[in-house]
């Protein structure tokens, strides 16, 4: 088990290396000039060239790559071109809202979606099933920002129950923190709930068709007993897999949601950094998100061993 985790950790290195390579090349091979942006509106060509030199952007591509990769290996994500801060501290400043938003969303989504999916599967073909599935397809069909605006309009402007925008740090109190998270999380949760409810239903239906379910019935178990003792433990693996894969969706959604709700998280940092051509920050964020994605899926893979005794590494 320990050996397996170690092996999996080691195997993320090439993946992360490829991510790094893709990101690096993507940034350098597209036409944009961070130096000109930093130099500002009234800068002349020499000033821009000077900044370019300061940033090391005048060096050959391979040298830049080497410089970046070797500093990465030392745990140094570099210094933001634009914010004049280390990328690490920039991200550290922004991580809390994003983490809170993602975690809260995940909790809400799982709490809503899994029971919905189970009900739909148990009552396959019923009105409830159709409603859940209908909602799920709709959830995939409406852009997140539209949902966000609608929620703001109803709950923040008309009813004035919740704040319009912003994020209150948990250090400033639990209640404001929770209040500031509700609307963004609901916005973000919609697509996730849609995905998760649907996958829960599908996995459960699949499991319910297995032979051992028939065996369980042949031993006189009630449908509820069959669900709880036999179907759910077996459906857990695919459901958890989707939770993990959905993290990619969540990360994408964070960018939009943070923009709508003016939450100072990493999602907005991404857009800011991209618009400012802040290479070190863009690189670091993409690496970070990819790393999170890979790690979450690693954790999920490892959790399989707890859920399914057949899976041993």
């Amino acid at each position: 088990m320990f050996g397996y985790i170690l092996r999996r950790l080691v195997s993320t290195i090439p993946v992360m290396f490829i991510v790094a390579l893709i990101v690096f090349l993507m940034l350098r091979l597209t036409p944009s000039d961070p130096a000109a942006i930093i130099a500002g509106d009234n800068a002349n060509a020499q000033q821009v060239e000077m900044i370019r030199q300061q940033l090391g952007l005048d060096k050959p591509l391979l040298v830049q790559l080497w410089v970046w990769l070797s500093s990465l290996l030392h745990g140094n994500l570099g210094e933001s071109f634009f914010f004049k801060k280390s990328v690490t501290s920039l991200i550290a400043d922004r991580i809390e809202p994003t983490l809170a938003l993602a975690a809260f969303t995940l909790v809400i989504a799982v709490a809503i979606a899994v029971p919905l999916g189970i009900f739909a599967a148990m009552r396959r073909g019923s009105l409830l099933d159709r409603i859940v599935m209908g909602f799920s397809v709709m959830g995939f069909s409406v852009p997140a920002f539209v949902i966000g605006y609608a929620l703001i309009y109803v709950f923040a402007i008309k009813l004035q129950w919740l704040p319009v925008q912003g994020y209150s740090r948990i250090a400033n109190g639990f209640e404001p923190w929770l209040r500031s998270l509700i609307l963004p999380s609901l916005t973000l949760a919609v697509i996730y709930v849609a995905l998760l409810a649907r996958m829960t239903r599908t996995s459960l239906l699949e499991v319910l068709g297995e032979d051992y379910i028939r065996t369980a019935y042949s031993r006189g178990l009630t449908p509820l007993q069959v669900l709880v003792r036999h179907a759910l433990p077996n459906a857990a693996v695919p459901i958890i897999t989707v939770v993990g894969l959905g993290v990619a969706l969540l990360i994408g959604g964070v960018v939009v949601t943070e923009s709508v709700f003016a939450i100072p998280g990493i999602g907005r940092l991404t857009v800011d950094a991209v618009l400012a051509r802040d290479y070190p920050t863009i690189q670091a964020i993409i690496l970070l998100f990819s790393f999170v994605y890979v790690m979450i899926n690693l954790i999920i893979d490892v959790s399989y061993t707890l859920l399914d005794p057949r899976i041993r590494y």
Binding site: P31, S32, D33, A36, I37, G40, D41, N42, A43, N44, A45, Q47, V48, M50, I51, Q54, F82, F83, K84, K85, L90, D93, R94, I152, A156, I157, L159, Q160, W161, L162, P163, V164, Q165, G166, S168, G173, E175, P176, L178, R179, I182, S259, V260, F261, A262, P264, R268, L269, D272, L275, A276, R277
Partner: protein
Amino acid sequence: MRFRKFAFAAAVGATIFAGPQSVAPAAAETVLKAVMHSDVKIIDPIWTTAYISRNVGYMIYDTLFALDAKNEVKPQMVDKVDISADKLTYTMTLRDGLLWHDGQPVTAADCVQSLKRWSAKDSLGQKVFTGFVSEMTAPNDKTIVIKLKEPTGLLLFALAKPSSNVPFMMPKRIAETEPGKQISEFIGSGPFVLKRDEWKPGDKIVFTKFDKYKPRPEPASGFAGGKVVKVDRVEWLAIADAQQAINALSAGEIDYMEQPPHDLLPLVKGDSNLKIVVNSGVGQFTFRPNSLVPPFNNPKIKQALWYALNQEDFLKATVGDPAYYKVCKSFYPCGTPLATTAGMDGLLTGNSKKAQELLKEAGYDGTPIVLMASTDLPILTNLGPVAKQLLERAGFKVDMQSMDWQTLVARRNKKDLPNAGGWNAFDTAWVGADILNPVLMAYMNAACDKALFGWPCDEKIEKLRTAFMKAPDAAAQKKIAEEAQLAAIAYTTHIPLGEYSAPMAVRKNIDGIIDAPVPVFWNITKK
């Protein structure tokens, strides 16, 4: 707002919905929350010309001189200034009790070093200090002596320069930073102190009242007079979405919004808790052709632009409400001393027939005009499509390329041909304070390669600008300014597209906002 019980209470827990007053700070500290036109990413107001950095500068730094509401130069940090009879020696004495935020007294040496750094960066500073100043010394802690080679009426104006780059005063050790590098320590002597640890780019920037600041005794007027701070804390929040900012304003989550888009003002008007504050400062939309590459390297073709474009169309499309725009056929802001419509007869009215004729005469060969249009700054977004349509009506072929402002900024420095990554034209906006006279007006710089992007190249304009600096009095200045405008029209350095005012939206309990071209936060009260 009252706590509402039904439906939701059970689901999430009642206290969550208790309303925003429960979030109010414990102490009786007055906090002013504002949304500015942009997020603060760079503070050094000497290093960058970004307006938001300039605005930060006015919070934490102070200036030697300042323009008052009538655009007259008034001493600010300086107590008195003595000008020698030959107008070649200026002796300035600092006020008593000026302190840096770290508690150290402000010295003349600090100011001399600050002026050196500023004059190395700022275009007006360069002109005045390299062209006229022979020596600048600090004989004692209180006294600054500036000696000139020949007289200029612009020295004190330069020291009171209201907009980017503003000659802000910094401690000597900080001002010794190379002008090409950003400073990393932000200590000023201004009325607010930057809370460095709470500055989170993309989130907020926080200022607190500087208790030991000594305001001048005069009442505040423009940038001049006593900078009396009447709130304890000012927070600038980054809310990029303007509608969301207004929503937040309505909900009382913020108090002050610097630049609500004109189209959203009805929302402000419709909310009894909000009010609109109109500043006398104006902005000018500007069309900048690239005089270096074809077809705009041909002045005749550029002449057609004056007939093709129409101020009214641009103003309507970007501002809409006539209360907030003004047709102004002057390079200098209307209502300021130098404003003139000289040479503008029949221009900028959208006379596409005339434009077509001129194009024919000039032999325009149908080369497409690469028009860069920025898409992410609301005030500029609509200029591009209007320009495209007007130019096309006049017979130009237009290839409008949309990009975000940052890309535009990068690309406009390229001298290449448009099909090789260069450009032909773009639209932008200037604040009035930046274009008060021909020397200040960066786009009128026609020094060929040394000029700004667009690289206009005209000896006559340059001579007039130098003459302006040497002009002995206001009447002479006005005459030269008018001549410079005529020359700039003939050459077409750039084209003014009309003026707009940018009202602010604030909550009703906010008062005492100073009418200045730059939003400043002293004198504001929150009840």
